[in-house]
């Protein structure tokens, strides 16, 4: 499994991650970012792209 972590002190809700990796990142009904903290290896490329797209560099992928 791949670990994903969003630093919510940095996140400013640009939603770039939601666009790039909609399966792993979503906004819930209260506008809060919800995301999968562990994703399968197949999704690695996608979450890494989300990390790159994030304007705040708030997403860490291990």
């Amino acid at each position: 499994m791949v670990k994903v972590k969003v630093d919510m002190n940095l996140c400013e809700y640009h939603g770039q991650c939601v666009f790039v990796a909609p399966k792993e990142f979503q906004f819930d009904d209260n506008d809060e970012l919800v995301y999968s903290e562990e994703v399968p290896e197949e999704a690695r490329a996608r979450v890494e792209k989300a990390a790159k797209a994030c304007p705040q560099l708030a997403i860490k992928v291990e």
């Binding site: 400013e12 640009h14 790039v20 906004f27 819930d28 506008d31 304007p55």
Partner: protein
């Protein structure tokens, strides 16, 4: 089921564009041939007559957007001198209440920008806004269609593309229908003046409208201070204890940017979507069979025809980009229209291809990095609702052959001045 690929080629791009000036009539009809030549011959090209560097490759545009500490946004709209050569307009603007002048949000750099951005993001709160307004938007779109459905044809820009973002902006600012159309006039004049190269009369009107707009915003601010409100302006005023409040000038600037951003680019986005459907054989059927593909339509249209063709940055020091030496304080035109068709990243980029995977290479239509469009979720939803409702009511959309489409005069906003479409229902 068998699908024909729905792809369409630009009818103009085979024409050689010898004149690389982006202001020529040929380039206005289709700038993409000129972009392709720039990418091939001189990817970062200096235009002496405009004292401007065109940045045409995807990688270079992305690099510049991702390094705001090296590239300033202070003239992001290329508007540094919209009023400078017009003493009468400057005289009018002396009465402006947006003082002291302050570069805000789209024109601000870190750390100031981050402060503005956070407040705007909170005030726009796209998910909340859309949840509140989406059903109303849908009803409104149906209302626009009711007005022309019996005639079997419509002028897309005035009867469809303009009213939708206008309705949304009216909901965001919580103002009346009538006020909205006044705001549209302000926003038109703002935009004309911002883009430069315009007549004195337009600039003077823009200056006058600026004052009207400021008064509208500041009256609303005063109201919201008395009776707290949950409209956009009301939310701009609700800052946490540890933050300083926005100044009047900042509030005015933010509102005008949301007004212009929320209107002009979205209008052209919607027209481009309708044009694509009406001019691409087989596209309408595929969207009808599988409405989930509307999302692919939106992304591929934003890639293929980004409504804002370019934004601008200023170099903070002398530097080298892509092997080219660029002096300090040079103005760079970040050409999204070109980057979005860069052959290094896109195969057959001139082709509109519904099946292209736009998550593979992210298009630049909303910019990238710290200034990435704050309204992109809203714009996408507007496009989605518009096309959903359109396809549910009308069929067999095609470009009217008696009145040809007219492109925008300004190269920077890619879309239409008028677009006549016929249909069955």
């Amino acid at each position: 089921m068998q699908h024909t690929n729905v792809k369409s080629k630009c009818p103009y791009s085979s024409e050689a564009v010898d004149d690389i000036s982006l202001l020529s009539p040929a380039a206005r009809a289709c700038p993409y041939g000129a972009y392709a030549r720039i990418r091939a011959e001189e990817p970062i090209k200096y235009l002496a007559d405009q004292d401007l560097w065109i940045v045409s490759k995807y990688e270079d545009v992305e690099y510049i957007l991702s390094n705001p500490e090296k590239f300033s946004s202070k003239e992001a709209l290329s508007s540094g001198n919209a009023y400078r050569d017009f003493p009468k307009a400057l005289e009018i603007l002396k009465q402006s209440r947006a003082q002291p002048r302050q570069r805000t949000l789209i024109l601000a750099d870190p750390p100031e920008h981050g402060f503005h951005r956070k407040i705007v993001q909170r005030a726009l709160s796209p998910a909340k806004t859309l949840r509140a307004f989406a059903p109303t938007i849908e009803a409104r779109v149906n209302g626009f269609i009711d007005k022309f459905i019996e005639t079997g044809r419509f002028e897309v820009v005035s009867q469809f593309s303009i009213p939708l973002p206008m309705a949304l902006v009216s909901m965001i600012f919580d103002v009346s229908e009538e006020q909205v159309y006044k705001m549209k006039r302000w926003s038109d004049n703002f935009f004309a003046a911002l883009t430069g190269h315009v007549h004195e009369e337009i600039v003077i009107n823009a200056a006058k409208d600026t004052l009207v707009f400021e008064n509208f915003v500041l009256d609303r601010v005063a109201q919201c201070r008395k009776t707290p409100s949950d409209c956009f302006i009301g939310r701009l005023l609700q800052q946490p204890e540890d933050e300083r409040p926005l100044t009047d000038a900042e509030i005015i600037n933010i509102c005008s940017q949301v007004l212009v951003g929320g209107n002009e680019s979205t209008i052209n986005f919607i027209s481009n979507l309708v044009y694509q459907i009406a001019s691409t054989i087989g596209l309408e059927e595929r969207l009808r069979e599988d409405p989930a593909r509307i999302e692919d339509l939106l992304e591929e249209s934003l890639r293929h025809e980004p409504p804002l063709q370019a934004m601008y940055r200023i170099t903070r020091s002398e530097m080298e980009i892509g092997g080219v030496r660029i002096p300090k304080a040079a103005k760079l035109m970040l050409n999204f229209g070109s980057a979005n068709r860069d052959e290094t990243f896109y195969e057959d980029g001139d082709e509109f291809d519904l099946d292209r995977d736009n998550r593979e290479t992210l298009h630049m239509a909303f910019g990238r990095g710290i200034h990435a469009c704050a309204g992109q979720t809203i714009a996408r939803r507007e496009g989605k609702i518009a096309i959903n409702v359109l396809l549910s009511r009308l069929r067999n959309l095609r470009i009217a052959d008696d009145i040809p489409p007219v492109r925008n005069k300004l190269f920077g906003v890619r879309g239409f001045q008028s677009l006549h479409v016929i249909f069955d229902h």
